[in-house]
């Protein structure tokens, strides 16, 4: 058992080192993709706390992502705040929004909650374009942000700096989520998921945990949204459609429910598989040019068939088998 823990620590450190070295080895475009992947990973961390650990399904996390992005954009362009202040502020707004949404969510279980959050995802683009907010949100025109430059004259490119901002945010949030999940709070969340009545009997305040979990999860999505706004340099209602919310759920399941390390695989899937699908259409000739969606679907089914418990589950199984073959227990 100690050996498995050591192995996990070693793997975490290796991933950390690789992630840190990446922007100094890759080209600008790949660094941008890397930053996008980290942004998705942050959102997935939050959603995994909610769905994986606490068992609340959300089809609407794109909405919190959008609040984070628009909050950052508005604070940066209208209030003139620097991005490092705008993103945390916008994330706090997301926490409050998530916490408040958690209350009605208490009354819904399972599929009903999925539907309620689905409504959130559907409504978001239209609310963002709503006339009354146009002075802030720019309506359908969206908001253009200037990309942050490396501070203190650091010898970094803009892409490298952005990546590092995303990287350290992700590392910090991963560390926080891990501590949260490992301790008393994590056990309470899992207990509520697995047996709510037993959890309440044990003295767990289910309502408080569930709403707080929703809030924290929304905060993660908000940080991701804020980082996305400065990385892309542009927000508009079209950026936060239903597809975004659904892709988050795909990412959590692909990465592995209730596995925090798995989110990196989920994020890689969200970022790269649509590109791969687009590339594959080219090899099927001109007539397939309209089919990236279908190919994406096939790849998704294949991924689920190959690793029904997500990437994290598959890795666990592989390492168990390898350990068995080597004679470890």
């Amino acid at each position: 058992m100690a050996r498995a823990d050591e192995l996990a620590r070693f793997a975490t450190l290796a991933v950390f080192a690789a992630g840190l070295a990446f922007p100094f080895l890759a080209s600008g475009y790949h660094i941008y993709q890397g930053a996008q992947t980290l942004i998705y990973a942050i959102a997935l961390l939050g959603l995994n706390l909610l769905t994986g650990f606490n068992g609340q399904i959300s089809l609407g996390h794109g909405a919190f992502f959008a609040i984070g992005a628009y909050g950052t954009a508005v604070l940066a362009t209208k209030a003139g705040l620097p991005y490092w202040a705008a993103i945390p502020l916008a994330s706090v707004v997301c926490f409050v929004a998530g916490f408040l949404f958690g209350f009605p969510a208490l009354r819904f279980g399972g599929l009903y909650l999925a539907l309620a959050t689905f409504a959130l995802a559907v409504a978001t683009p239209q609310i963002l374009a709503f006339k009354g907010f146009e002075g802030w949100t720019g309506g359908f025109q969206g908001v253009i942000l200037t990309k942050p430059k490396p501070p203190f004259g650091l010898p970094l490119t803009g892409d490298q700096w952005l990546y590092l901002v995303c990287f350290f945010s992700a590392a910090l949030l991963y560390w926080a989520a891990r501590n949260l999940a490992k301790g008393r709070v994590g056990r309470a969340l899992v207990a509520i998921r697995d047996h709510p009545i037993a959890a309440e009997t044990m003295g767990v305040n289910a309502a408080l945990y569930k709403t707080s979990c929703f809030g924290v999860s929304a905060l993660y999505a908000g940080v991701a949204g804020g980082l996305s706004a400065i990385a892309v340099g542009f927000v508009s209602p079209e950026s936060f459609g239903l597809a975004l919310s659904l892709s988050f759920l795909v990412g959590v399941v692909i990465g592995g429910l209730a596995s925090l390390g798995g989110v990196i695989f989920g994020a890689l899937f969200i970022e790269f598989v649509p590109n791969i699908a687009d590339q594959l259409t080219m090899s099927f000739g001109e007539s397939a040019k309209a089919l990236p969606g279908a190919i994406y679907g096939v790849l998704l089914i294949l991924a689920m068939a190959a690793a029904p418990t997500g990437a994290a589950g598959a890795l666990r199984m592989i390492s168990k088998r390898a350990a068995g073959a080597l004679g470890f227990r």
Partner: protein, 399 residues
């Protein structure tokens, strides 16, 4: 046929040839045998119906390449899916420029998508040519000299309507219904600009949100203003509702409707052929379903292209006509570039199109650009609906 112009061009090209080999080496994506260009298209996602434009353009360049290419170079169009999501557009545009090393971007589709990549293109001096959107914001050479539109933008069209109103009904009272977004607002700006000193003729405005189920109440309000001209800047579903409602409540103004909604199948028929009779719209391309063009050489050229490089069902798709026109415009720019395919020269030549006529543009419509004018197509004709099809009338207008 060797005209004086082609002779001058080819001799100029010969003179440039020596210096051009250096320029080639400097421009990414350009070799002696090929020019690589890129675009993003919504092949997946909510706007995937437009993906056929990318297919048509790819097919068009295939045809050009089989005919020997342009100045001996084949055109290699790399068309990537962005799912109509601006963050993805930024990523794909960077991939095209930084990984694929394309010379420039061509006909990237969508207003938000193009808005998202415009800073990147202009900061890095990469031509963002002939963007596929009618938003007027992309014809702004002063602030964004590397970005250019193509089709008549919404303001241009509204100005043309204004001209027609001023010439036929100088004492008109105008009521305007428009969608509350960039498209609708561009329209209103164009109308006011076109009316100039007579902008007071607009006596009532009403907006709607795309989330509203109907525009009935707006139409009733507009009728109550006593207007005798009704401008409809609405997307298909709402345009059909507006036409029907106005008729049903016995309001009979002169109706002008944006070309966004001129589809007979999805607007005029649902509104009712009787009720939509007499509606006026603006057109700039030849309608492939119109029998009038059957023996037109331009249409025949188009039909031959579709027959050989696309499929029969694509023939009547307005998006294919659009892609065909874009491909031809691009080829003309590359021809004018000669052997100097540097990004500066591509942009210079795109802003130096003179009286270019295309097979599927209405006769007389000429594409003109200059360093101060980034709106290639500014002319349109008016057409009125006769209950079955659009009938073009009058002369060409310049907006």
């Amino acid at each position: 046929m060797l005209t004086r112009r082609t002779f001058l061009q080819s001799s100029a090209a010969a003179v440039l040839a020596t210096s051009a080999s250096r320029a080639c080496a400097d421009t990414p994506g350009v070799t002696d045998a090929e020019i690589k260009i890129g675009q993003t298209m919504p092949y997946s996602g909510p706007a995937s119906a437009y993906g056929v434009i990318g297919r048509a353009e790819t097919a068009y360049f295939k045809m050009i390449n089989e005919q020997g290419g342009v100045n001996g170079r084949k055109i290699n169009l790399i068309s990537l899916d962005d799912g109509y999501s601006p963050p993805k557009t930024v990523e794909q545009a960077r991939r095209l420029v930084e990984q694929e090393q394309v010379a420039f971007l061509f006909n990237t589709l969508g207003t938000p998508s193009n808005a998202a990549i415009r800073p990147y293109c202009n900061d890095n001096k990469i031509p963002q040519l002939f963007v596929a959107t009618g938003a007027a914001m992309f014809s702004d050479p002063k602030h964004f000299p590397w970005t250019m539109g193509w089709q008549p933008n919404y303001q241009t069209e509204a100005k043309i309507f204004a001209q027609h109103i001023l010439s036929t009904k100088p004492d008109a009272k105008i009521a305007a219904l428009y969608q509350n977004d960039a498209f609708g607002k561009d329209y209103l700006i164009g109308l006011k600009e076109g009316l100039g000193d007579h902008a007071g003729m607009i006596i009532k405005e009403a907006t709607y949100e795309t989330s509203e189920p109907t525009v009935d109440s707006q139409v009733v309000t507009l009728q109550a203003s006593g207007a005798d001209v009704f401008l409809i800047a609405a997307t298909p579903k709402f345009a059909a509702q507006a036409i029907r409602k106005a008729f049903d409540i016995g309001w009979t103004p002169e109706r002008y409707m944006t070309d966004v909604s001129q589809s007979i199948a999805s607007v005029m028929k649902p509104a009712g052929p009787e009720k939509s009779k007499g509606v006026i719209t603006a057109v700039y391309g030849k309608d492939p379903t119109d029998a009038r063009w059957k023996n037109d050489p331009g249409y025949k050229e188009y039909a031959a292209f579709v027959a050989k490089y696309m499929s029969a069902k694509d023939l009547i798709d307005a998006n294919v006509v659009y892609g065909f026109g874009l491909g031809a415009t691009m080829v003309q720019v590359l021809k004018q570039c000669g052997n100097d395919l540097s990004r500066e020269n591509v942009m210079r030549q795109a802003a130096n199109l003179k009286d270019l006529e295309l097979p599927m543009l209405l006769p007389g419509i000429k594409i003109n650009t200059s360093p101060e004018d980034y709106s290639p197509i500014r002319q349109e004709a008016l057409a009125s609906f006769n209950g079955a099809s659009w009938e073009q009338f009058g002369e060409l207008y310049m907006g």
